[in-house]
Amino acid sequence: MNNKIKSLVVAVLVALVGVFCHPSDVQAHGERAQMPQLRMRTVHWIDVKASTTKLAVNDIVKISGQFMPSEFWPHHVKSIENTAFLNVGVPGPSFVRLDSRVNGVPMIRSTSFRKGELYDFEITLKARKVGRYHVHTVINVEGAGPMIGPGLWIEVTGDNAKFTNTAKTLLGETIDLENYGFANVELWSAIWFAVGLAWFVYWLTKCPIVVPRFKRNQELGVDADQMITATDRRVGGIFLALALTLIVGGYVYAQERWPITTPLQTGKIDVPQVHHTDDTVTLKLIEARYRIPGRSFRLELEVSNHGSSPVTVGEFAAGNLRFINAKVLDVKPLDDHDLVASDALRVEGGPVAPGATQKVVLFADDAMWETERMTTMISSPDAVVAGLLHFYDANGKRYLVEFGGPMIPDFGMVKG
């Protein structure tokens, strides 16, 4: 029995340690849990990078890149063309966001993004807490939730206590956002707590109160108000006057101390178009098949090259997974969790000559389909997939073309 109690105590202590110890090396936070269709058909992220992956508290890191809302956005998911917000996926405020821009427009407020359009973004963060964080770009879509971008490991060193974050008000006062106004909050909270406690203690001084007052109340019945003494009423009057005086006094004090205030600010802003549609390369999806036993995605496309230089596929990106054609590109993962398969894209039928339209077959074979839980795409209610193809011409110029359409799973049960 004693051993059981000891084991229980140890288990509780271990659980408490788990709860109260702040995780400094935070692991991934659910990006794999999102449905594959949601990942493949919402937002395509391109060239997401960090200006540094190791910095000290108070140092700046910039996360930048591009994104493109999918033309194949699921009908059952609220559209990014309504209300959206560029965000960062980090465990708590381990960084503070000093700036975030899309096409150069500050993203302090919410906005909306057009499907099929390419956007540039840059987020400026200042390191606040020591730790190693998997920092994701995120676009929150109203009614649909977060659309999570690729994650980058960023390590913050130094001393949390040395973090500073100041701002200057329009009245010319420089404030420290880490503790601004809190002493005043503590003071008023303490005053009200003391007043409330004093009221409670006044009635506690009549202890014992529960049983005797209950019995007396029963005895007196409709005359139970006799239990209230004249002193009680006087004290009640004093506390009422005190409460009203403090409320009015506090309000007048605040009006004197901060005479100029504005209501909370909200609203939506527009983002102008920067990248215009480029139809140099167009394509038509003929067939998309996913072979489950081989973790192999096969795409059959009809590609038209309207440019002046032959083009070939260098990268196939879907759901933050990147499959690279090593014959065209040399891309290495940035860290252990960078979802890049450096030589996993096989292309048959390319390059496509200028003015030509020809069939191109892609094979994206890698265990990432399985490890990143993309194989559950066969559970989709509409079995539609989408992805982004990176075509490169002979000069290395890139053309981004999205594909999308129905996907047929291959369970490996049919021979031949």
Binding site: F20, H22, A84, F85, N87, G89, G92, P93, S94, F95, R97, D99, P106, I108, S110, V138, N140, E142, A167, K168, T169, L170, L177, Y180, F182, N184, V185, W188, S189, F193, V195, G196, W199, F200, W203, C207, P208, I209, V210, V211, R213, N217, I228, D232, G236, G237, F239, L240, A243, I247, G250, Y251, A254, W258, T261, T262, P263, L264, Q265, T266
Partner: protein
């Protein structure tokens, strides 16, 4: 089955003697022990129940300083906050003649809120305390209790106290909140200090558009949004307080227990 003489004498004896409490000192000691058991339990109950209730119905409006606007926060909060003071205020007055329901329940809520904000929001999640401090509502409960004590009437307490409860939330908290609504500029956009904190201290699951603030419009009345909301909240809260008193009245009758047993 017949009663013996001994049984009859025991049944007719004073209640205290039947429990072996022969002296005044012993009786008092037992009553004090009952207080020591019941009062801490009630405090814990109020802390738990009110925290849960408040988190469900008010939640973000009280968690974050950039949610405390002049339209929704002063309207939603009194409607949710009146529930426990109404129900338990009735029970404590009706059964014990104690005008404590308002102050004690809100005192417990405040205590639980500070513990939660400090441990969960500040120490664990890492938000600065000046971004997540709980609003104060103790004065509202105190006004209800004092009015109940002075008028000894639920009707007048509801009429004046219920109204004051809704009316005074904003001015009561303005002493703490005003500092966070001072304007500043960020990248060509005017914000309040609270807005800036909401932008800078990243909340992955709370994008800007999630805030339910400053929605709808008042075509007239100029910029007098705050007093209008306060008066409207006050009127609404009169009915709200009476309603929850009635629920307390039903609870005190314990009809539901008799239906179960």
């Amino acid at each position: 089955m017949t009663m013996t003489n001994a049984d009859k004498s025991a049944a007719n004896a004073p209640q205290s003697q039947s429990y072996g409490l022969s002296s005044e000192i012993e009786r008092r000691k037992a009553y004090v022990q009952a207080d020591l058991l019941v009062i801490p339990l009630i405090i814990l109950l109020f802390m738990g129940v009110f925290s849960f209730h408040f988190a469900l119905l008010v939640g973000d409006w009280d968690y974050w300083v950039d949610w405390r606007d002049r339209r929704w926060w002063p309207l939603v909060t009194p409607l949710a906050l009146t529930v426990l003071p109404g129900v338990f205020g009735f029970l404590l007055w009706d059964k014990l003649r104690l005008p404590l329901g308002g102050t004690l329940t809100i005192l417990c809520l405040t205590l639980a809120a500070w513990v939660s904000r400090y441990l969960n929001f500040h120490l664990f999640a890492g938000f600065p305390m000046n971004f997540v401090w709980p609003s104060t509502y103790i004065a509202l409960g105190l006004i209800l209790d004092c009015l109940l004590l002075l008028t000894r009437s639920f009707f007048w307490t509801g009429l004046f106290g219920g109204f004051a409860f809704g009316l005074l939330i904003y001015p009561l908290n303005w002493a703490m909140l005003a500092a966070f609504q001072v304007p500043l500029e960020l990248h060509g956009t005017m914000l309040t200090v609270a807005d800036l904190m909401g932008y800078e201290y990243i909340r992955t699951a709370i994008p800007e558009y999630v805030r339910i603030i400053e929605e709808s419009t008042l075509r007239t009345f100029g910029a007098a949004v705050t007093p209008l909301t306060a008066v409207f909240a006050g009127f609404l809260n009169i009915l709200n307080y009476w309603f929850w008193l009635w629920i307390g009245y039903l609870g005190a009758k314990a009809i539901w227990i008799r239906k179960i047993v």
